[in-house]
C-alpha cells in the first residue's frame, strides 16, 4: 500500500524539482493544438535553476546539520493529565476546525453531539459526534434541480405501464397528432 503512494510522492517531488521533464512533452502537444503556440520562455530558465537551487539547499542543510545538538527524550506537558495518551492526539477533524469555522457560512455544517447517558452530562459513558457538510451550491442549486428532474421523471413513469396495447395506442395517437400538425402546417 505504501509503495503506490510512495511512487506518487516521488513523482510529485521529481516533477516539482525538475518540471522540464513533463513540461517539454506537454508544450509539444500544446503546440500541435494551439495555432502560433510556442514553448513558454520559463522552460529555458529551468535547467539553470536546478543546480543553483540544489546547491543552496545542500549548503543550507549542511549548515543546519553542523550545529551540534545534544538530544534528550523527555516527557511533555500533558495539559494537566497524568500522561499523554493517543486519545489526546490532534485528529484531522480537529485540525480542520479553524478552516471550517471560517467557511461556516459557505459550508453550513449539520452537527450533532450525543452524550450518553443523557441525565449525567458531566460523567458521559459515550460521546458521539456527527457532522455532515454540503456546499451551499449543492444545497441551493444542484439539489433542487435534481429533485425537480426526479419528480418530473416520476410523473412520466406513469405512462410506462408495461402493457403492449397501451404502447400501440401511444404510437397510434402520435401518428394521428403528427398528421394533424402536418395538415395544419400545409
Amino acid at each position: 500500500m505504501r509503495f503506490a503512494t510512495g511512487v506518487l510522492a516521488l513523482a510529485c517531488a521529481s516533477v516539482g524539482v525538475y518540471p522540464a521533464l513533463l513540461l517539454r512533452p506537454l508544450s509539444l502537444v500544446a503546440n500541435g493544438l494551439i495555432p502560433y503556440g510556442n514553448a513558454p520562455q520559463e522552460l529555458s530558465v529551468l535547467p539553470k535553476l536546478l543546480p543553483i537551487l540544489s546547491l543552496c539547499v545542500l549548503g543550507a542543510v549542511l549548515i543546519a546539520l553542523a550545529i551540534p545538538r545534544v538530544i534528550r527524550v523527555t516527557a511533555i506537558w500533558a495539559c494537566g493529565l497524568p500522561q499523554i495518551s493517543p486519545r489526546m492526539e490532534y485528529t484531522a477533524t480537529a485540525f480542520s476546525k479553524p478552516l471550517r469555522s471560517v467557511f461556516a457560512t459557505v459550508y453550513k455544517a449539520d452537527r450533532k453531539i450525543e452524550v450518553l447517558p443523557a441525565d449525567q452530562p458531566y460523567f458521559p459513558v459515550t460521546v458521539s459526534y456527527r457532522s455532515v457538510r454540503t456546499t451551499s451550491f449543492e444545497r441551493s442549486l444542484y439539489r433542487p434541480a435534481v429533485d425537480a428532474i426526479v419528480a418530473a421523471a416520476n410523473q412520466i413513469r406513469r405512462l410506462h405501464t408495461g402493457n403492449v396495447q397501451m404502447y400501440l395506442l401511444y404510437i397510434f395517437l402520435t401518428l394521428v397528432s403528427l398528421l394533424v400538425v402536418v395538415k395544419a402546417l400545409q
Binding site: V57, V61, V70, I76, I84
Partner: protein, 279 residues
C-alpha cells in the same frame, strides 16, 4: 565578480541582521509604551544561549519533529537570497522567482505543522491555526505579487524592482496602491505579528505560531527563532523592493551603497513604527 560579492554581502547582511530588526521592533514598541526596553543585542544572546542548550524531544516524536526546524531554516535562507536590499540584484534571481518564494514559505510552514503534530495537543492546535492563516493569506499574497509582476511585465523580483525604480514616483497606478495594501496585510499575517498573531503572548489559548513551536527547545528553537526573524526581514525587504525601491544603489560605487544602506534603515523604521503602533 563584484556583483556576486555585493550579492553575497547583502545576503549576509539580511540574514545576520534579522534578529537585530526584531530587537529594533521590540525597542520601538517599548518606547511607545514608555518602557525602557531590552538591549538591542539581546536576540543574539538568546540565540547563542539556545544553541548551547540541549534539545528536549518528546517521547512521541518522529524524525519529522527534528527535521522540521532544519527545513524551515533552509527554505527561509533560500527565500532571503531572492530579494534585493541594497543593490538592485539578488543572489538567486530567475524568471518566476516570486512563485518559488511563496511556496518556500509554505514548505517551511508545512513541515513545522507536521512537526507540531508530534507534540502535545496545544502544538496541534497551533499548527491547525497556522494552517488556516496561511491558507487564507496565500491567495492574496500570490495575487498581489502577480498583479505587480503583470504591471511591470517582469517575472523576476529584481527586474520588478528595477522597473519600479525607473518609474516616476507620482505616476503610481491604482494597481500598485491596492496591491501594496493587500501585501501589507498579508505580510502581517505571514510574519505572525499583531493583530493576526502576537509573538510575545504568554497564553497558549491565544497563540498561533508560538503554540505550534511549543515543544521545541534548544538549538531547534534557536533555528526556528532565527528563521522567523529572517522571514520578517525578507518579507519587509520584498515589500520595499517591490513598492518603494527608490534609494537602491544604481551602481556599485561605495558611496551610493552606503547611502542606500542609510536610507534603507531609515525607511524600515516607519514600517516598524506602524507595526508596533498596531499593538
Amino acid at each position: 565578480m563584484t556583483t556576486i560579492a555585493v550579492n553575497v554581502l547583502q545576503y549576509l547582511v539580511l540574514v545576520l541582521s534579522a534578529p537585530l530588526l526584531r530587537a529594533l521592533i521590540a525597542r520601538i514598541k517599548a518606547t511607545l509604551q514608555r518602557r525602557q526596553g531590552s538591549n538591542l543585542w539581546r536576540p543574539y544572546a538568546d540565540l547563542l544561549k539556545l544553541f548551547r542548550k540541549e534539545d528536549l524531544v518528546p517521547p512521541t516524536a518522529s524524525p519529522l519533529f527534528r527535521l522540521a526546524p532544519t527545513v524551515l531554516t533552509v527554505s527561509t535562507l533560500v527565500t532571503a537570497a531572492m530579494v534585493p536590499t541594497v543593490y538592485q540584484s539578488a543572489l538567486l534571481g530567475f524568471a518566476g522567482d516570486f512563485i518559488v518564494l511563496v511556496y518556500l514559505f509554505a514548505l517551511g510552514r508545512f513541515f513545522m505543522g507536521l512537526g507540531a503534530l508530534d507534540g502535545s495537543s496545544f502544538a496541534g492546535m497551533g499548527a491547525s491555526r497556522e494552517a488556516m492563516v496561511s491558507a487564507l493569506a496565500e491567495a492574496p499574497l500570490f495575487l498581489g505579487l502577480v498583479a505587480v509582476a503583470i504591471l511591470a511585465r517582469q517575472g523576476n523580483i529584481v527586474e520588478i524592482a528595477r522597473w519600479t525604480l525607473s518609474q516616476n514616483f507620482f505616476d503610481v497606478s491604482a494597481v500598485h496602491a491596492v496591491a501594496f495594501v493587500a501585501l501589507a496585510i498579508v505580510a502581517i499575517a505571514e510574519t505572525g505579528r499583531m493583530p493576526v498573531d502576537n509573538p510575545t503572548t504568554h497564553l497558549e489559548l491565544t497563540m498561533i505560531h508560538e503554540a505550534m513551536v511549543l515543544e521545541y527547545s534548544g538549538p531547534s528553537l534557536a533555528l526556528i527563532e532565527w528563521a522567523q526573524a529572517i522571514k520578517l526581514s525578507t518579507v519587509l525587504s520584498l515589500l520595499i523592493s517591490l513598492f518603494a525601491p527608490w534609494g537602491m544603489a544604481p551602481n556599485l560605487a561605495l558611496s551610493s551603497l552606503a547611502a542606500r544602506g542609510g536610507s534603507s534603515s531609515l525607511r524600515r523604521e516607519p514600517d516598524n513604527n506602524g507595526d508596533a503602533h498596531d499593538r
